[in-house]
């Protein structure tokens, strides 16, 4: 009896629970194009990038150690670590915004696939996992640069693919705009 419960009844109950979760409406939706415009136009903390990078450098606080202010140096490094973690949150938000934008692009221009969707899904999962890993490394005081590099590459790839997709949309739009003009010219030539 217990084998049947484990192998069949429990998975069936799990499926019902998963169904209930999956059909629930999402908390945050970006359904209209205007919403996407608004979100893309939102200001972020880009201007503070140099300070954030500087805050992660150990040389910046080394002089405090050499002068015997160990406690102060430790506190400053902790605070800067927090800043880096917050910055990572912004990166993650930004990535999710791009994903949302690519989903919207896929929806509004269904004949154009913004990227190979499987790679897209894999990239998303990898990005989320790497963000968590980087967060752990920062908390443990380990070197974060290599992971930042991987994240940068992933963002770069996505940028290129989305750029290609939007370029294709632009080209199609341009052709669509020129086509009536071309027909008009042909009509005039034939007269």
């Amino acid at each position: 009896m217990s084998v049947t419960v484990i192998l069949f009844i429990a998975p069936a109950i799990v499926l019902v629970a998963l169904l209930a979760w999956a059909v629930r409406p999402p908390k945050k939706t970006l359904l209209s194009v205007d919403d996407v415009f608004d979100t893309l136009a939102e200001k972020r903390h880009y201007a503070r990038l140099p300070q954030i990078l500087q805050s992660l450098r150990h040389e910046d606080t080394d002089f405090l150690y050499t002068r015997g202010h160990d406690q102060l140096a430790g506190r400053i490094r902790r605070e800067r670590k927090e800043i880096a973690l917050r910055y990572l949150n912004y990166l993650e938000d930004e990535y999710h915004l791009l994903l949302e934008a690519s989903r919207i692009l896929a929806r509004i221009a269904p004949e154009i696939s913004p990227m190979d969707e499987f790679a897209h899904l894999r990239l998303n999962m990898r990005f989320v996992l790497l963000c968590r890993y980087l967060r752990c490394r920062l908390r443990l005081g380990l070197e974060p640069w290599s992971v930042f590099g991987i994240l940068s590459d992933m963002e770069g790839d996505m940028t290129l693919q989305l750029e290609a997709a939007t370029t294709r949309i632009g080209e199609r739009a341009a052709i669509a705009a020129e086509f009536p003009l071309f027909l008009e010219n042909r009509r005039r030539d034939s007269k």
Binding site: A12, A22, V23, L31
Partner: protein, 263 residues
């Protein structure tokens, strides 16, 4: 006739009536045009009831002929159900070629894996082989639909309320079928009519859900909710998205190269 048998016959009669009502609304609201596979499924399920009832009357309930007809027709019903579910999935995700290309393959692989799992992990007697296969297929259908809903949620795809309710009905029916079947095989093999009655109740609930969904269905509402985007919107969105991506890419490049120079 025992009380369980009377209940079973009553539920069969009621489910036939509800199938007829559903068919009526599918025709009246012209849903058969947009959902031919679902319409065929309901029609086949109705025909199955008629065929099995006739077989029971002619050959008797315990005869081998009735058994073969009942389970043989079940194969046709399950195939029709698969087609109906595929139709709903394609309606939800099919218009996004990139998404559908990936999701359809993943759903197929998942469905086959669950089917194999359910068949391999059944340790029942060979006399229950047909029931076991049926349970495996139902589990496969339920997993397929749940996975489809997960993808719909992930991509935030708009799905019509009717398609959503039809898929939920299929999934709930399949899940409860698996539970009913497992309970029957584990505990109450002797109480066959009662098991049949429980299965019929699940099917009745599903039919009511579908009738409600078809009644609320409106073609004009679907047309109104279809996404529309002007040429200017396309270009504006593309431009804004590109500039935003450039900023992000530059920012990350800076971050990366800054790290390199340090290490």
């Amino acid at each position: 006739m025992s009380a369980a048998l009377i209940l079973r016959n009553l539920s069969w009669a009621l489910s036939t009536v509800l199938e007829l009502v559903l068919l009526y609304f599918l025709v009246r609201r012209k849903v058969y045009r947009s959902h031919p596979a679902f319409f065929s499924y309901v029609l086949i399920a109705l025909l199955q009831s008629a065929v099995v009832a006739t077989a029971y009357r002619v050959f008797g309930q315990a005869s081998a002929a009735s058994y073969n007809i009942a389970w043989g027709s079940q194969v046709v019903v399950i195939c029709a159900r698969w087609l109906a579910i595929t139709e709903i999935s394609k309606k939800a995700l099919g218009e996004f070629s990139g998404i559908w290309a990936m999701v359809s393959r993943m759903l197929f692989v998942l469905g086959m894996s669950v089917l194999v799992y359910a068949l391999v992990s059944s340790r029942d007697q060979w006399t229950l082989a047909v029931l076991t296969a049926d349970r495996a297929v139902e589990m496969c259908i339920a997993s397929f639909i749940v996975a489809m809903f997960v993808f719909v949620k992930y991509y935030r795809v708009e799905m019509s309320q009717m398609d959503r309710m039809l898929a939920i009905g299929f999934c709930l029916y399949s899940c409860f079928f698996v539970i009913n079947d497992s309970i029957y095989q584990a505990w109450i093999r002797t109480a066959g009519p009662l098991w049949n009655y429980l299965e019929s109740v699940t099917y009745l609930a599903t039919l009511l859900l579908w009738i409600g969904a078809v009644l609320r269905h409106s073609e004009s509402r679907i047309a109104a909710s279809a996404p529309s985007l002007t040429l200017e919107d396309y270009l504006e969105l593309s431009g804004k998205l590109n500039s935003r991506l450039h900023v992000l890419n530059n920012r990350l490049d800076k971050l990366f190269h800054s790290g390199d120079s340090r290490s």
